[in-house]
């Protein structure tokens, strides 16, 4: 109980601070996507996402639950102040749901320390990542409690918040057998498929917006400097190779951690970390998605603070330079630091999950290489 109260207090403080920092009535206020993408482009012009396009002829770029929550906040709140208040309330409620899921998933062993997170402050009232994290964490929680239909419904809702929750689906199917597997797939498919069938073009536009993009805060912009671009699709040389590099890295790591021997929380931690380490588009707010699963790795003394601080620094330094997307600008240097920190988290989590084998000699594989060479000589 004490841990729960501590966690609630920390969460409310973090999100509360986020509400203040992003408020359009604070001067200066931090940038937030919900005012940029939703309020300015749609609500203030009386345009309804998915049914109408914005001024530039573009679709709303987030999936249906995100859009629906925004519309709900707009219609309930009325003006900008009302919209912001209702939306902030929703974020607080989601964050508390996320905390509940964390507590039930990881027990009372100090899970709350991961809520002392600069990302929650800087990106809490920013986009839809808290909703995504809460819905996915609840889906994972109900999965561990063997309430599979509920888990599938929540996962589908999370999918329509931001597509990322799909990472859990292959694992869920791997863990379940026979009819349960089919049922999970059917429930997920029906809930996720219904709005897609109803509005296929809007969904296609969402997928396109989420996938056709340049390198955005990916650490390998330092390897493929030509692929760096501020906003929007670009045709810079090196972009396709850079994206391919990211996709291959991400798939290989994901495949490596896709094992039913892992607990659902351990799997989500490793799978999400795999994704974040190699995604071509690592928007810093996406880090919130990892928070509910971090306690599965035990205590992260070095990696967690470094990862969190570098992640927050990206947006705080973004507007201090004219080309924040260029290699070795402060934000992009921070993406490199963030990658290193996340790698240490990944390795430690692999170790905690028992996926790191002990090398049988000082130099791994040396005995095997010697044996192959001997055979070749024979």
């Amino acid at each position: 109980m004490r841990n729960w109260m501590t966690a609630v207090a920390i969460t409310i403080s973090m999100i509360g601070l986020s509400v203040l920092l992003h408020s359009p009535f604070t001067n200066p206020s931090l940038y937030t996507d919900i005012l940029g993408f939703f309020w300015n482009d749609f609500a203030s012009r009386d345009r309804i996402p998915y049914l109408q396009l914005d001024e530039t002829g573009s679709h709303f770029e987030y999936p249906f639950v995100s859009g629906l929550l925004s519309i709900l906040a707009w219609k309930t709140g009325g003006d900008l102040a009302g919209f912001y208040a209702v939306y902030s309330g929703m974020v607080v409620a989601s964050a508390l749901a996320m905390v509940y899921a964390m507590m039930r998933l990881h027990g009372n062993n100090g899970f709350w320390m991961y809520l002392v997170s600069p990302s929650l402050v800087v990106y809490g009232v920013y986009g839809y990542d808290v909703f995504l994290a809460a819905l996915t964490a609840l889906a994972v929680l109900f999965f561990t409690r063997e309430r599979y239909s509920l888990s599938a419904i929540l996962l589908a809702l999370a999918f329509h918040t931001k597509l990322l929750s799909i990472l859990f689906l292959p694992y869920a199917l791997l863990r379940l057998d026979g009819r349960q597997r089919l049922k999970y797939l059917a429930v997920f498919g029906s809930v996720a498929g219904a709005p897609i069938i109803a509005m296929p073009e809007a969904f296609r536009a969402v997928v396109e917006a989420q996938t056709v993009w340049s390198l955005e805060n990916a650490w390998y912009v330092h390897v493929f400097p030509d692929a760096a671009s501020p906003v929007g699709p670009n045709t810079a040389p090196g972009l396709s190779t850079a994206i391919l590099f990211g996709l291959i890295g991400m798939s290989m790591l994901y495949l490596h951690v896709l094992r039913k021997a892992l607990s659902p929380a351990q799997f989500m931690l490793l799978a999400t970390a795999s994704y974040l380490m190699f995604t071509p588009r690592y928007s810093p707010q996406t880090s919130i998605f990892l928070l509910p699963f971090l306690p599965a790795s035990g205590v992260l003394m070095l990696g967690f603070p470094l990862w969190e601080l570098s992640n927050a620094t990206i947006i705080l330094t973004w507007f201090t330079t004219s080309e924040p997307f260029k290699p070795w600008s402060v934000p992009q240097t921070m993406t490199l630091v963030r990658f290193i920190a996340l790698s240490t988290i990944f390795v430690q989590s692999m170790h905690a999950a028992g996926l790191l084998k002990k090398p049988s000699s000082a130099i791994p594989y040396l005995p095997r290489i010697v044996s192959v060479l001997r055979r070749l000589r024979v």
Partner: protein, 427 residues
């Protein structure tokens, strides 16, 4: 255990396996001079290409090969192996249709031969002849198999990769997959296909998805990394000749950018994947090269791209294979699993690109699936349907092939007319 590169094939079996490919080679070669250029090669380097005697995409690749022979770096959006093969043909037989098409006929005959090997390995001697005949009589395969484009070498290496996989030589299967990528970019689909086959077989053994994923994890090195290395090595050789790109990665980037831009806006103009596996009722066959005599309006030479009963057989194969894998434990290699896995991944990938990303697709992309279907369908039908089913199926395929044979003698045209097929616009 020593690595066996070649396994001995008894002489009798070799003759049996080589009969249909030899027949294909002779028949297809006789059709080579039917489409002959009126202009000199020098006049057919840049468009327009009327009178150049090109069939279908030869209009892209033969001028490109000519420029490559002149030392130019062109057609860099496609990998080089098939163009090198055409260059070899040109240097051996001259810059004429023999030079462009003979190497392709040879590769297609080799594909039929390999399909025989595959059918033998999967089902036994009984299925060699029907399998080879099914591929031989696939109208699109027959027509494009002797045309100077990228597909024949790519199809051969894909089929070889499948054969090496089912015969347990996985590293060599990976190398063949890399060579197919080096012949045509869509060869990249062999990588997920081989991984899927490995997963499907492992799953079929114990009904355990975790083991299937583990099998994929173990196979990534031979089925993904090895083909990519082969591909990059080939691209590096090409780049060292042309000096067009500083590294193979830059070249790859150029290729990927090119292929991601080929999107459509008007779906009715596109040969979308579903239209490949239904009889040609929704859209007219594609005229690759058609000459028309008017009146009476028939086509003395007509190379059509059209689906065949082999392609439509997936409607039977998929439920049969699915049911088998679902209800019983399968051995490795299992023909049903090979057919389902190969079709599922290749067709699924094309459908995904075409319907979700609106990428242009063409019906002849199905050729990537045809050889494997041809090798497995006789066994699948024979095992799961009444005994005569696959023979009737084969007969239907042969009749369909005769209807679309590129050069029909007068008696055949009259016969088809008397059967009421004279009004079919593509007869």
């Amino acid at each position: 255990m020593p690595l066996k590169l070649v396994r001995k094939i008894p002489a009798y079996n070799l003759m049996m396996l080589a009969a249909i490919p030899t027949f294909y080679m002779i028949l297809r070669a006789t059709l080579i001079p039917m489409v002959w250029p009126e202009k000199a090669p020098a006049d057919c380097v840049n468009g327009p290409f009327d009178g150049c005697g090109f069939i279908f995409d030869e209009a892209h690749y033969i001028p490109a090969v000519r420029k490559m022979l002149m030392g130019e770096a062109v057609n860099l959006e496609h990998p080089p192996l098939s163009k090198w093969v055409i260059m070899l043909g040109v240097s051996m037989f001259g810059d004429n249709p023999w030079g462009w098409r003979v190497p392709m006929v040879l590769f297609s005959a080799l594909t039929i031969f390999t399909v025989g090997l595959l059918a033998k390995r999967l089902g036994g001697d009984k299925y060699v002849l029907p399998a080879q005949l099914l591929l031989f009589t696939d109208v699109t395969f027959f027509n494009l198999g002797g045309v100077g484009i990228l597909d024949p070498p790519a199809l051969f290496f894909m089929t070889l990769s499948a054969y090496l996989y089912v015969s347990g030589r996985k590293a060599l299967a990976g190398v063949a997959a890399g060579l197919s990528m080096l012949a045509k970019s869509s060869g990249i689909l062999v990588i997920p296909t081989l991984l899927a086959l490995e997963a499907l077989h492992e799953y079929g053994k114990a009904r355990d998805l975790d083991r299937a994923v583990d099998a994929v994890r173990r196979s990534v090195r031979v089925f993904a990394i090895l083909p990519l290395l082969v591909f990059f090595a080939g691209i590096a050789v090409w780049d060292s000749q042309t000096k067009a790109f500083p590294t193979p990665l830059h070249h790859l980037d150029f290729m990927l950018s090119y292929h991601t831009k080929l999107s459509y806006n008007e779906p009715w103009k596109v040969e979308l994947p579903l239209s490949w596996i239904i009889p040609p009722i929704s859209r007219m066959p594609s005229p690759y090269f058609v000459s028309t005599v008017t009146p009476p309006g028939y086509h003395p030479v007509a190379f059509w791209g059209v689906s065949s009963p082999l392609w439509w057989s997936v409607w039977l194969m998929v439920p049969i294979a699915y049911q088998l894998i679902k209800t019983s434990r399968i051995h490795n290699p299992c023909p049903e699993a090979v057919a389902l896995g190969w079709f599922g991944v290749s067709f699924g990938a094309f459908a995904f690109l075409a319907y979700l990303f609106k990428r242009w697709t063409y019906s002849f992309y199905f050729l990537q699936i045809s050889p494997i279907l041809a090798a497995t369908i006789p066994y699948v039908l024979d095992r799961h349907l009444p005994k005569t089913a696959y023979k009737l199926f084969l007969a239907f395929q042969i009749l369909w092939f005769i209807m679309f044979f590129p050069s029909k003698p007068d008696w055949l045209i009259h016969l088809l007319g008397s059967l009421g097929l004279g009004e079919v616009p593509w007869i």
